[in-house]
Symmetry: C2
């Protein structure tokens, strides 16, 4: 799973990067680039390493699939349609390349994208950087910023399944290793008029705090409404849903009137509030999730 750097470092690094890159550009899952004909291009790049991102036992095909799914999920979270994917592969053993490329190609094909190129390099540890491009009508793009008090908070499916697999619930192994980015759902939600959206990759709690960081409102969730992983005791399931990494569901806010959205499995889990705080069952939610380790 993607783990983040420890809290103090991440905040400091993010703030520092904001002195170099326009900070507004750093708010979303993708960079947004004017495309010239009323559309916007969105671009995302994601780096994955074998030891930190690919659970032991994954096939090369699954590694290629996952590396591609990560960037398609970023594109989905903006409400955009995936177009092209580039794959830079730092390869420890040349014989792994075919499986990785086939997994990437199949994931692209499944979600309407095309694998168009990349770079190849030798590396001691398998490292993959996937870069995805997508397009969206300027009027339909959805960002993390945009939530309004009174909006519902919702997700597109069960949370905590990937983490459940990691802690031993084998029935969720496939959700962990062959994640399904919510591409169709993201586009449908954008067309329906959701107000803010992101994908959940480091757990619901950290994602809610990410939304808090860029909106002038707060987020109150009711843990009894969280869609939990099947086959896991409820208390443990709730813990996994709030703090587990590796999910590919979309988290979004929307005016209640737009629901239901045809063809999208919407689970309402709470409400956007005026007070700038993240609450779970009325209490401040712990800010934790899966963290990178420096020098690891």
């Amino acid at each position: 799973m993607k783990r983040r750097c420890v809290e103090v470092d991440e905040r400091a690094l993010h703030k520092m990067i904001g002195t170099i890159i326009d900070p507004e550009r750093l708010e979303d899952d993708c960079a947004v680039i004017p495309c010239g004909d009323g559309r916007l291009l969105v671009a995302s790049t994601d780096m994955l390493h074998e030891t930190t991102d690919f659970p032991a036992g994954m096939t090369d095909w699954q590694i290629g699939w996952m590396a591609t799914a990560v960037t398609l999920s970023d594109i989905a979270s903006m409400g955009a349609r995936p177009g092209q994917v580039l794959l830079a592969v730092g390869l420890d053993r040349p014989e792994r390349l075919r499986g990785i490329m086939e997994g990437a190609r199949d994931c692209c094909a499944r979600f309407g994208a095309e694998l168009v190129g990349g770079d190849l390099d030798a590396h001691g540890e398998l490292t993959i950087v996937s870069t995805g491009l997508g397009t969206v009508e300027a009027a339909q793009i959805v960002r993390r910023r945009g939530a309004r008090p009174g909006d519902i908070i919702a997700v597109t499916g069960p949370l905590g399944e990937a983490q459940a697999a990691l802690v031993g619930y084998d029935r969720h192994w496939k959700e962990l290793l062959e994640p399904q980015p919510r591409v169709r759902e993201g586009m449908a939600l954008a067309r329906a008029g959701v107000s803010a959206m992101m994908d959940i990759s480091d757990g619901l709690a950290l994602s809610l705090y990410d939304l808090l960081g860029v909106n002038d409102c707060g987020f109150s969730v009711d843990t009894a409404r969280l869609p939990l992983p099947a086959g896991v005791p409820e208390d443990e399931g709730r813990e996994l849903a709030l703090y587990g990494g590796g999910d590919f569901e979309l988290l979004f806010c929307a005016p209640p009137g737009i629901l239901p959205v045809a063809g999208v499995d919407v689970h309402v889990i709470g409400e956007v509030i005026r007070e700038r705080v993240v609450l779970a069952d009325g209490e401040p939610l712990e800010r934790r999730g899966y963290l990178h380790e420096w020098g690891g």
Copy 2:
């Protein structure tokens, strides 16, 4: 320096990738994507690792600069105008990030691009993947394919300087560590109507063989006409120019009538011939350059 995998592996891997990605897509330095308004989007991604790509003694700023220059050079080689750069950084120590990002930002600014985002990860070995986007009028794009017998073969500047620095000619240290992608030159050459173009990153010899691989003609160069690195004995300079890695000059073919091209330093080094072979001074040119090592 960028080193390539050993010959047999590289050919085999490239052929294998051609069964997964449309082989025509693999011919050029960038992927080419229709943009909707008569323009094309070009996209390039390049992976660099500390141990294989960044000579000892580089500053973090220079590392950020070089990682960005590599992708801007790919864009330049298509005759395109750079637009946006994304940087995925696998960071061994968080304190290196500022220098790297500043170097990337400054390189972008120098060549008219904008650093718009990226990804950050912890990694034992510093690893940077730069992805660049550019645009070009569909009628002006230049590819590796397109050379015709009778065209001149030319380069935009001295060859072998980067390699000269690596073997001890300190006066060329700056050319090695702060390479200048030929962005302005690439656009001017495209407008002037060159027939084929690429950037030279693994040495002139390998680049000529790359052109041979996608054109139905051959390439004959006159080594006496090669622009050599200053301050290096002529024989050694010729060796560095032919086989040294790390240069950022453009190699192109063009109908003789388009020369000179205003504002571009054009060094004619040979002629495109009918026979499908690469010749230096009338003899077959050795096919070697800088190679990646697997498992290194």
